[in-house]
Symmetry: C2
Subunit: 322 residues, 2 copies
């Protein structure tokens, strides 16, 4: 896993990926006590950065491997990213989801052309179902983060940040990234190491699901006690990845931990000041940039909004705060 | 008023204006029955396209004229656009607003560095107050739409659309624009005439406030019976402008008229499918693109989301539909 893979991914995905802008607002600067720059990956195809990794991985397969199709386990943003990437390549996608996944997510994934296979969480073994389908049909598994070509795709976000920061004269800053398994965070870390060494990645996670922050602190992979119970579901994973963690350990600064309430407040501010729709898990980096001013140094901070796939009910809840 | 003024404005504002992307969603294409492209000016500085015109007008003043400052009458998007433009030029801005304007709008305009002067709608003459202030302090009035340098600034949106449409291979399409006094619509019309003659501007307005659509139909300036009573307040004006209407008469296709309910539905779809916050008046063009399929021809349609300055209560109302 290295910068050359990210540059190669960038060359493959540049024609289809959206180059998201770098936004700011004087009102957010005021709250944060410094200039806050926002990279809105909620504006990416399928509403999250996951499309970058999905397209990178599918496009990296040789034609014979790709033709039978791909398979992914996800009820969320990775599902939609892989589904659209497969559709754009004209190959089948099978997405394995728990049968209790929200109907909207199942419908959206189907509408993007994927076949959705559901399983019962309590009684069925997801991995067994996936392995059987993959073997029968010759499908290639696209893992959500611990997969080099996925990390390379997410890392293209970092190439863009490096370029955009330079254009704004930003040479020193923390780049705060909403962090689940660490695919986006580690990809950006490698890109910045190469193209903007004055910028440093720092992960942001929800309270109670801060495996990456604790792993960075202890120097070894730590686990979360639970895997449910956060409104920031998009970035809840059991532990940092085997490929992503060594990269983070080498390059990332200390992690941030934010509460659900702070994530909701950041969503409300993104609505009010940036005209952007962020999902709770996609807003934790902005929350850290705004509400952890004493843990940040320097005149500038950059925060990723990693996704915007939130239902109306949760969004209304965020708006109650303003 | 001509294309050279738009190109000159573009050269002046390029360093500060946000070049907004051209977005799309397969889900919106499905509803519209054709490809729908969205130009999200809600992502512009101050949350609307008005910043383009404000900055263009302030930057066009010679230094001696500019130094004492500028004045504008507006309780909405034009106020914020002019305020930020003046701030960026380091000159004072005085914004004259009715005393019953929403506190948030007054606060936002002040936070952008402007001096807000309020007047009582019932008992005071806005124009007299403005003229007196302008004379006393040597302020230059920046009109919201019937002002060539403002139209030129708004027209830069059209230069971007021409370029972006070309990049997507779109050579024939209607470009639907949320239309109040016609500054944005006529500026885009001139830009497209020069740079993308296969693209045709068409205004979109709220029901009951369709002065431009009726003026285009009759060939002469028609008035609105009322000036309040629409949730699309940002684009309610008494009549098309004296400078804007001749341009629209020459270049625009028939206008669209959408209901408040359709504008709210378009806001909900922008939330769900684009992760964008649109205000009601900023969503009428998207509503027309989605819900007037029989009035549109061709495989592609382009719609501007002109602004996103909506309060949480109205946005929650839009989300009730999904």
């Amino acid at each position: 896993m290295n910068i050359d893979m990210i540059r190669a991914a960038d060359a493959r995905i540049a024609v289809v990926v959206r180059r998201t802008p770098l936004l700011n607002s004087p009102f957010l600067d005021e709250i944060a006590g410094r200039r806050v720059w926002i990279k809105p990956e909620c504006l990416q195809h399928t509403g999250s950065f996951k499309f970058r990794g999905g397209y990178s991985a599918v496009s990296a397969l040789d034609q014979d491997t790709r033709a039978p199709g791909v398979i992914a386990f996800s009820s969320g943003n990775h599902a939609q990213g892989v589904a659209l990437a497969a559709k754009m390549h004209g190959v089948p996608a099978v997405i394995v989801m728990p049968s209790d996944a929200p109907k909207l997510k199942i419908d959206n994934t189907r509408a993007l052309g994927a076949e959705v296979v559901t399983y019962h969480r309590a009684t069925e073994d997801r991995d067994k179902i996936g392995a059987q389908l993959a073997a029968e049909r010759g499908l290639t598994l696209i893992k959500p983060y611990d997969e080099p070509e996925v990390i390379a795709g997410q890392g293209t976000t970092g190439l863009e940040i490096a370029e955009q920061a330079k254009a704004h004269g930003i040479t020193q800053a923390d780049v705060i990234v909403c962090c689940g398994g660490g695919g986006l965070t580690s990809g950006i870390a490698l890109a910045l190491e190469a193209d903007a060494p004055g910028l440093r990645v720092r992960p942001a996670e929800p309270e109670g699901f801060d495996d990456v922050a604790r792993s960075l602190a202890s120097g070894q992979i730590e686990h979360n006690a639970h895997q449910t119970g956060s409104i920031c579901d998009a970035i809840v994973t059991p532990q940092p990845g085997d490929i992503t963690f060594p990269i983070l350990k080498r390059l990332a600064g200390p992690g941030f931990v934010v509460s659900d309430g702070e994530a909701l407040q950041a969503m409300a501010l993104a609505f009010q000041r940036l005209k952007l729709v962020a999902e709770p898990g996609g807003a934790v980096a902005l929350a850290a940039a705004l509400f952890r001013k004493d843990e940040i140094e320097g005149d500038d901070v950059i925060a990723i909004i990693s996704g915007g796939n939130v239902d109306a009910e949760m969004f209304r809840r965020a708006l109650e705060g303003i």
